[in-house]
Amino acid sequence: MELGPILRAIRRNKARFGLIAVEVALTLAVVVNCIALIADARAQMARPSGFPDDDLLTVSSAPFDAAFKEPGYQQAALRADLDALAALPGVAVVTSTRLIPWSGGGSSGEYRQAGAGDAAPMLRSQIYNADERTLDALGVRLVAGRTFTREEVDRDTRRLQEITIHPRELGSDGRPVDKFLQDVVVTRAWAEHVFGPGPHLGRLFQDSDGDQYRVLGVFDPFYNPYGWPIHEYAVFYARRSSSYENGTRYLVQAEPGQASALARTIEETLTRVNRLRAVEVSRVTEIRYLYFGRQRMVAGLMGLVAVLLVVVTGLGLVGLTSFLVSERTRQIGTRRALGASMVDIVRYFLVENWLLMSIGIAMGVGLAVALNLALVSSIASARLDPITVAAAAAALWLLGLASALVPALRAARTSPAVATRSV
């Protein structure tokens, strides 16, 4: 084979041949890192919540009528709303909870294992109220125990209301003297975080006031992004919503495929029940879309860069290869005159190109890893995936081959007479 002459030619023209290798190396390094950033953004966006996001709607009802400030009126209005929503065709389950999936916020509280002592660390968890239908509406799967019954929700609601109206007496430590015990439903991730591996049913934990909580049920999976890294941790306690301070929120699970149609009818329905308020309906998929705005932007812009880069480098390779071939027209003519076949010429340029591409790709892989390490230090999760690197390297290699084929074929067709005329 002509490997000897090719290597000698490359060695004598390091700059020009080196250029191709450097271009390929940089392109590979940047493209695979773009893909890593896109993959990272997509992985974040693809994170399942454990809820049937497509079928969920969240409704906020904010009354501006003074009558809503009376507790009796509040309760009646809440029940009327829930009945009206449940009667709508296409509604599977409806509940009232302050949890808004994918809104990036919510309420949280701190707990520790019961009896762990005041010095034991507190563990933070998202905390939401629930009625007997809330977990059904969220569509989460109970892995142990059960959720609240209607009677339990009513009983706990009454008890919590009692405490709000008649606060408990505080002891010398600033904590209530009479403690209470409440049943709660928790996520599996949180139960394992607090108690270690199961079984968790019946286990007790407490808050900073010394009030105790007993695990009634455990469900999984649950993922609701929060301002602090407690996305998988949630505790649900039994309480019917009643606060109209900031309005009431309802969570509606629609029959599959009915969510967008329901979004329109819910507002009319609730306004018919009571006009003296503003009703806003959002699909959870819309909230989720907004939540991932930044990731979407990163993926979009990086995709743009990757595509432009491949186009630019493709064109650049064609240009450079054509130049390198046309520069050697005389040499080709001489070789043809001395008996080299067209196949020999084409093969010479293809082998040369293959060699350059291989050097470039080898350098590119190293560069890609270096660039990724620099990126990883600022973005922990955007790691390189070996399969992506291999695929991108193969694609670039083919791109290089294609860009060499055209000028090589043209060069091979050069007649020896024309090529050597000016010598």
Partner: protein, 438 residues
């Protein structure tokens, strides 16, 4: 000499317009992409209030419980009501304000629209001069209104447009919740890049549409619609309990004009915390912070974590665009070897030939840069339009002189990278070889 070389370069560029277009287009593409990405980063990083960022300080105190630190190990970003009241008694700051936002019902004239919940920022009258808030009509309420909870409000230009059709509404009345407020001022368009005075939620949000004296919080029993963090139950029920609690929901800002004032204010904070410790509060290690605007922006991680990586990638993109042009320029320059041979033979020095070709590359570079800058304006408009559906504002990304300078610099460097090797090669041509061939 320069004029002569420019003329030759210009002629050369005109002789092969397609070639010039491709090279210029390559640089334009690289400049457009890198300028777009640099502008994204710059929009987060630039000083939102350049005249005053050095004298505005955010105040934090570690009032958290003794067992666990506030998540993240730093003091909570906001202060309690009791601490705000106590700290604002200090006369060290020239200006100061506690502030939070509430979501309240605004009742427009029934002919204009139905009642709607709007974000209302509760603050002190110092808020407006401190943060250089521009007024179109009227002005802020006075400090007396802060003390007496006078029923006055300031409206943003957009809210004034919605409620009063954009006319001078100073003196007019607007109903918020169950009471009437008198408009004392209407803001001019106010769009700080990053919402520096409240970074607790979306840092690129637009400012609130309505402002009212802080004292209404107590009068109307208003709760925050923003973040509110606490670590223990209130000592008593109801709103009084909230006011006396360890719940933090108020941002505290002070204006301190000298290092001496900053020092005295820090000492004041520490003395207050130590005194409170005697009453059983502040049980953690003393950690009070007085943080200037830009440091707070860094601490709050306003910049998306991907921004630096994206700028690096876009600069590499520009570099690759430039590298790709080397081959094209090399082909063009070497094709005129004979002509250069003649010039060399007639006495042109190597340096002349080198400089002349480099100049030609820089000319294309600058032209490409100008086109790239124009392209990046378009790209920024597209990204802004898209961002509007996410952050409800379509003016966050903004080109400024710094970014135009960046584009020009990037274009020149790209021209240099693309042209250096071809120009060097062409100046090394031995005249004899090419003269012989003719």
């Amino acid at each position: 000499m320069l004029a002569y070389q420019l003329r030759i370069a210009w002629k050369s560029l005109r002789r092969s317009p397609a070639h010039t277009l491709i090279v210029g287009g390559g640089i334009a593409l690289g400049v457009a992409v890198s300028t777009l990405f640099a502008t994204v980063r710059h929009s987060f990083a630039k000083d939102p209030i350049p005249d005053k960022s050095a004298v505005l300080y955010n105040v934090r105190m570690d009032t958290w419980g003794p067992v666990d630190p506030y998540p993240g190990g730093k003091p909570p970003p906001q202060v309690t009501y009791q601490d705000m009241v106590a700290l604002m008694r200090s006369d060290i700051p020239a200006r100061q304000t506690g502030t939070f936002k509430a979501s309240l019902y605004v009742f427009p004239d029934p002919r204009v629209g139905r009642p709607r919940r709007e974000l209302v920022r509760l603050c002190f009258s110092d808020f407006f001069p401190m943060f250089e808030v521009p007024f179109r009509f009227g002005g802020p309420w006075d400090r007396a209104a802060d003390r007496t909870a006078e029923r006055v409000v300031v409206l943003s230009d957009e809210m004034n447009e919605r409620l009063f059709g954009g006319e001078d509404s100073v003196g007019r009345s607007v109903r918020i919740e169950d009471r009437e407020f008198r408009v004392v001022g209407v803001l001019d368009r106010w769009r700080p890049g990053v919402k520096f005075y409240d970074l607790t939620q979306n840092p690129v949000d637009v400012p609130e549409p309505i402002y009212m004296p802080f004292a209404h919080m107590v009068a109307m029993q208003l709760e925050s619609s923003g973040n509110s963090d606490g670590w223990r139950s209130p000592p008593m029920a109801g709103f009084a309990g909230l006011l006396a609690s360890e719940q933090t929901w108020i941002l505290l800002w002070v204006e301190l004009s000298s290092a001496d004032q900053v020092g005295r204010y820090r000492a004041f904070l520490d003395a207050y915390a130590l005194e409170q410790r005697k009453a059983g509060r502040f049980q953690r290690k003393l950690d009070n912070r007085v943080t200037p605007v830009r440091d707070l922006m860094v601490e709050a991680e306003v910049m998306p974590k991907e921004a630096d990586a994206m700028v690096a990638v876009s600069l590499l993109f520009l570099l690759i665009c430039a590298l790709n042009l080397i081959g094209l320029l090399l082909g063009k320059f070497l094709a005129r070897a004979a002509e250069i041979g003649v010039r060399r033979a007639m006495g042109a020095r190597r340096l002349d030939v080198f400089m002349q070709h480099l100049l030609e590359c820089e000319l294309i570079g600058l032209a490409g840069g100008a086109i790239g800058l124009a392209l990046s304006f378009g790209a920024i408009a597209v990204v802004n339009l898209w961002a509007k559906s996410i952050i409800s504002r379509g003016d966050f990304l903004a080109m400024d002189w710094a970014m135009a300078g960046f584009a020009a610099g990037a274009a020149m460097v790209a021209g240099l990278v693309a042209g250096l090797y071809p120009a060097w090669r062409v100046c090394r041509i031995a005249p004899a070889v090419h003269l012989k061939a003719q």
